[in-house]
Amino acid sequence: MQRIGVFVCWCGSNIAGTVDVQAVSEALKTEPGVVFFTNYQYMCSQAGQDIIIDAVKEHNLTGIVVCSCSPRMHEATFRKTAAAAGLNPYMVEIANIREQCSWVHKDMASGTEKAIILGKAAIAKVNLNAPLTPGESPVTKRALVIGGGIAGIQTALDIADAGFPVDIVETKPTIGGKMAQLDKTFPTLDCAACILTPKMVDVAQNDKIRIFSYSEVQEIKGFVGNFDVTIKKKARFVKEEICTGCGACVEKCPMKKIPNEFNLGMDNRRAIYIPFAQAVPKVATIDPSACNMLKNGKCGVCSKVCTAGAIDYTQKDEFINEKYGAIVVATGFNPISMDKFDEYAYNQSKDVITSLEFERLTNAAGPTQGKLLRPSDLEHPHTIVFVQCVGSRCAACAEKGKEYCSKICCMYTAKHAMLVRDKYPDTEVYVFYIDVRTPGKNFDEFYRRAVEEYGVKYIKGMVGKVTPEGNKLKVRASDLIAGKQLNIDADLVVLAVAIEPDKSARPLATMLTASMDTNDFFTEAHPKLRPVESPTAGVFLSGACQGPKDIPETVSQASAAASKVIGLLVKDKLKGNPCIASANELMCNGCSTCANVCPYGAITYIDKEFPMFDRTMQTRRVAQVNPAVCQGCGACTVACMSGAMDLRGFASSQIIAEVDAICR
């Protein structure tokens, strides 16, 4: 039996004005377990708290009921008071007789009556309270960042800056991601490489950061603070630690006609290659599907010219196991396939290109050394048509486009159009748009500059069809404001293609038990208040894997994710919320129903032996709640048929006791 003290607060006249506090404390004194009762003007004041502390000591109280304001206001206060008095803080219950009683009811009689009932319910509940101790789990002080684009780079740098080791896993031979392929960045027009490559070098030189390039995450086990990850380091047939990145092998490699993915296939690379001059790590990689030596053992030139002896044709995939306290997903995006949009003749003409290809065409390190030339005949284009929203905002058919707005296209198209007009004033530039969306600092000003200062022709309407004829592209489009159909003979058509999450995101989400939306973007723990966390504890989101984002937004989210990770890694131990679910193993059926409703993947199953009445042992499958992962929503407790699953602090018996007390 509990020894309960009841403390009724007046809250000045806030409560005492409508509730007869004396009558309430009198009425509650006969409730089961109550051994002490009093009322006071301000229970939350130091003097009020002292009354509680003294009463606990004097009357050996085991439970406290405070009839006062909302628990959302002062539950934490009174829990600390209980702890100061030597009681378990979870032996406190609050009856909300202010916000939900004195403030909403007018007459003293009904207010007092209700306050008594609420007090009784709290007493009934505290009678069934048990001391709760938050569970603790150790934290591995190392973070994993999956994806080495600008999002992953920024997150890793920030975490490393706080002194924690970080590993970056990147599937490509180099970090840098999409930003490394860009020419200039909006709205300031600084060159992407100039601002990105120093950061890449910082990563390479930071002794807290390890880069696993040309690698993939193979398996993830464990939970927040204690992830157990297997990383597959694909064989690149070059010893990374020996290769100096001199490029002699690349120069001599006889396989010259391999489409260069860094330039989106607009020029060629060799079978052994370094993606670009500032690659990090700057080491060569052999493409096994193109290398003659690996395919049929006939060649070996690179090995002969490598003075460092870095070539190793026998290299195998390597598997690395590492423990992490936190995981950051930064898997980024890709433009969608244009196969289903051939009204724009992307597959029919080399001169219809995507915006990312356009970036490479204007980039000094690109296939044309930065000269804007048509891919088909390397002539200077005089009329360029940009088409926005290609595949974005497309709700007609799911396999074709994406229903969402890709967010970045309006701005980069304005940038492209502006740059063309700046460098080649003799060029006619048309931009076809549905809406121009420029919410962002200096964004609209930038777009207006493209129109007003650079004379880019913005036309509200869509391109319906592109027809290659001779060396021209006949563009048919509508101009909705002029009420005309336009037929433009263009030299180059640039498509602002919708972006989608990287294909690796979904299998990764499965490994992480992190949730995704129907478009395969990762979902946030809360769309407004926890935007960089996944609902799965210890998993954080950085960059476009969570939704379309431009560089400034990506970087700020990357730093935000890093700060969340740091906040986790500075802790030696994780204290959980003790109000979590737990399964009574004797009653558990092992049916998996609870695990099916758990949004956090907190429930796993083990086979366990139980002694039977006939002294034999029986093995049964039973649920285990991971206290570090469970957030205490209680979905499992209702899903559980047998009632084996219960929630501490909100146990079925406690809630039923409250129901009974209210309905008595």
Partner: protein
């Protein structure tokens, strides 16, 4: 193999030769086209679904094929479009299906389960282009041919499902199998203006010229089509390059053209 065959009115009149080539070539490739008994005109155009009366002739043809457990094949693009769209409605629109069956008042109801093929699909999916390539005796070497689909074969793509509506390859693949050099023009799925040829001939002419001049510019010296109305329009409105039925090219490659022409 035997299939049900819906020739359509034009193939019995102005486009007889299209029909003759189609039958003979099918024979050569091991398929017999069995003409449906007492078929009626499809109406030439598929109009809105609240006019079940205008779809009855199509449903009768579809049901006929269904009762013989055969797929229904047609050569004319317009017939194929009407049959395929009607069949799709019978499958997907319960109210329409019920209404049509009530109109027909036959012993058994029809539910849209007949497989509807255009002759091109028959060649691709049933015969197979590889088999055709083997059967070619007279390859169309050095002929630069631009296939022309028009609208009816491809759209609405969600129903017709013949090929990618913006970048189809079925026609190209066939012509390649016949040994021709294919000229791909992105005007191949543009409308020739067929339905307004009576209403406003000068407009139809403009549309047709857009197509033929593009194909000519892309290097074609001949256009191939499946639709009599398209052929009429393109031929009438352009002196530059001729338009022929694809079945004629097929007959030529299979070495049966002359016997057809003399038949």
């Amino acid at each position: 193999m035997k299939v049900s065959y819906f020739p359509g009115c034009t193939l019995k009149n102005k486009a007889k030769i299209l029909d003759v080539y189609a039958r003979r070539c099918a024979e050569v490739l091991g398929v017999t086209l069995e003409e449906i008994d007492n078929w009626q005109c499809c109406g030439g155009v598929f109009t809105s679904k609240d006019e079940p009366g205008s779809k009855l002739s199509s449903v009768r043809a579809l049901k006929f094929a269904f009762e013989k457990s055969q797929p229904l094949v047609s050569v004319c693009s317009a017939c194929h479009n009407v049959l395929k769209q009607t069949n799709h409605l019978m499958q997907s629109d319960e109210a329409f299906c019920t209404k049509v069956n009530r109109y027909m008042a036959e012993d058994s109801a029809y539910d849209g389960s007949t497989q509807v093929y255009h002759y091109l699909e028959l060649l691709r999916d049933v015969v197979g282009f590889d088999k055709i390539r083997e059967a070619v005796v007279n390859p169309l070497k050095g002929r630069k041919i631009a296939p022309y689909y028009g609208c009816l074969l491809l759209r609405p793509s969600s129903v017709m499902q013949m090929d990618d509506p913006e970048n189809p390859t079925i026609f190209e693949d066939l012509l390649r199998a016949l040994g021709a050099e294919v000229v791909v023009s992105s005007m191949r799925n543009e409308c020739c203006g067929g339905y307004v040829t009576m209403e406003k001939p000068e407009f139809a002419k403009k549309k047709s010229l857009d197509i033929t001049s593009n194909m000519q510019a892309m290097g074609a010296d001949m256009i191939a089509t499946a639709c009599p109305l398209c052929k009429y329009n393109l031929d009438k409105n352009s002196d530059a390059i001729p338009t022929v039925y694809f079945t004629e090219l097929l007959a030529e490659a299979l070495g049966v053209k002359e016997e057809c022409d003399n038949a």
